[in-house]
Symmetry: C2
Subunit: 192 residues, 2 copies
């Protein structure tokens, strides 16, 4: 799921400028998946145009700077559909929160408490955003995906609300962190 494909996905349904694509990716209904930067969008658009997968027209606007509006071509549509037909790679998922949680005793109570609280706030916010999206969206498949995302977030949230306290309690609970490190010969330990 590289920037190219993501741009084709957006342009498949509507023309857009690089600036608009950026906004959609970091605020709009695509923001749940992606947040791509200008530094990757503009070069990608240039390359897609060179390959004939998108076309570009310049538009002069009143009250705003000129902009370059990109449209997907038939070749671009074929390319995108071909990309969709390939079996999807498994989800990629990285969570610093879970690393902190996994090391609750080391992180300390206040850091953990803060992490849990702000995670809850963040998830609530995401949920609200998706509720908003689904209210204005007509496209059934998109709605399916958004509902999917919403149930995931809602479940996440209820787990945190139910078990967040228990996690924070582990921070205090000074279970001696098991240093199962094999004892190291002093002569090799040049760090102490």
């Amino acid at each position: 799921m590289n920037v190219r494909t993501l741009i084709l996905a957006i342009l498949y349904h509507q023309d857009a400028s690089g600036y608009e694509i950026k906004k959609m990716s970091s605020e709009g209904r695509f923001s749940y998946f992606v947040d791509i930067s200008f530094g990757s969008i503009y070069p990608a658009l240039t390359r897609l145009e060179a390959e004939g997968l998108v076309s570009c027209r310049e538009e002069t606007q009143s009250g705003k700077p000129d902009r370059k509006v990109y449209s997907i071509s038939e070749a671009g549509r074929r390319e995108f559909i071909a990309a969709l037909s390939q079996p999807p790679q498994p989800d990629k998922f990285k969570s610093e929160f879970l690393l902190i949680a996994m090391n609750a005793e080391l992180a300390g109570e206040s850091a953990l408490d803060h992490a849990v609280r702000s995670r809850i706030a963040w998830l609530e916010n995401e949920l609200e955003m998706l509720e908003d999206v689904i209210g204005r969206c007509q496209h059934e498949a998109t709605k399916w995906v958004v509902r999917y995302g919403m149930t995931c977030i809602a479940n996440d949230l209820s787990y945190l609300r139910e078990h967040g306290r228990a996690l924070i309690a582990l921070a205090n609970n000074q279970t001696p962190v098991s240093h199962q490190n094999k004892p190291m010969p002093e002569h090799l330990d040049f760090t102490s």
Copy 2:
């Protein structure tokens, strides 16, 4: 959450060689978060050693090639705890499956059907793996995280089982894909 920090997280609780770290990251109890490659592990270990955050001893084994076993140093422990204390970045999440789902009409019934089935199979497998992990894990914070992951996956799974059919149905349901693209002047469309 870069490779350095992940390696420190692993070494915090047990000594390990680069080869073992790789195995833990792609099979063991850390595999839910990470899957780092040899190409990033070995250079990272070298650098961590140069910085005095880990130390290294060579071990000759009987019946196996020599290996370099790394131990975290006190400086390394401090570094890791400092990393944990910083407020976590929001989760990063990428799903090719959701991109396909969002474009159900374009992906086609068979591709979608296959994607849903193999996702279910994959999630069932993940769940099984985590069940196994939790059975043998003593560390409370780790268990908290694994239970978290398990409920997320279980919810995901039940959503897919309940609504997967509805999604696949959307593939056939040939709702004319709304090409809201502004009509393009022919002279600008060099793709046809």
